[in-house]
Symmetry: C2
Subunit: 128 residues, 2 copies
Amino acid sequence: MRPGSDEQEWREDCAPRRVLEIFATKWTSMILHTLAARHGGAARTGVLHRSLPGISKKMMVQTLREMESSGLIDRRVESAVPPAVEYSLTPLGRRFVGLVEVVYDWGRENSDALDQLRIRASSRRRAG
Amino acid sequence: MRPGSDEQEWREDCAPRRVLEIFATKWTSMILHTLAARHGGAARTGVLHRSLPGISKKMMVQTLREMESSGLIDRRVESAVPPAVEYSLTPLGRRFVGLVEVVYDWGRENSDALDQLRIRASSRRRAG
DNA sequence: CATGATGGTTACCTCGTGGTGACTATGTCC
DNA sequence: GGACATAGTCACCACGAGGTAACCATCATG
């Protein structure tokens, strides 16, 4: 091994470690992907919600807020009679979508590897 | 949008969703990467521990155990006087290392995007 | 004997994630 | 008027991730 190589690699602020923030917990990557799958990378709240089976209303809003303040998405409110809110990818968001798609493509192409994985069904939330 | 497309995409058991398990929380991906950086994809406990700044002894062992039972790594104990334990990548583990490296490479090549990200420093555990 | 390195276990505690459900507000449909 | 959809907030609660620190066992060193 190259001395001092990996140690440098894993400082708290290193790039790889920060990338993981995107995938860590939550629905961020799935929202990015869902938005990207829409024309123009935008969708209204209800559409998003229905596109993400299993997400709760609270987590939807919470994650969207975080993504907005992170600069990944924009939130545009149409002050219409039934309030219409549209979320759309920012240029920054589109960059991260690229990564997300790579990861998801890998998953689709390596589902056999995923099948071989013996993830303990006990943890990971309420085991589905 | 293609009807039924994204909805199918996000069933609990879909491939993309399972890939996220690898990156969700914990040190799994970092351990995979660290092992891959070693000759032969193997390292002893102490080496691993020193290569992962910030990991606690407990989380190290816990994560290694989970990875072992998942089939990502092998654990070989040399019943020597000072116990020597070596962890090594399995063929399955090597496949996932591929993904991990892709993600980390992306991070290194897109550090400017990461810099633009305004992650709220409040959450994410105890803010580092 | 005390210390340290080997690898690991355990109890204890914090807190972020994330779910449920109630509630707001407004306009339309029946 | 009541139900429903729009979008969202808030209180409440459960649980797992994950950290700290003490402890076990053994041998070598000082």
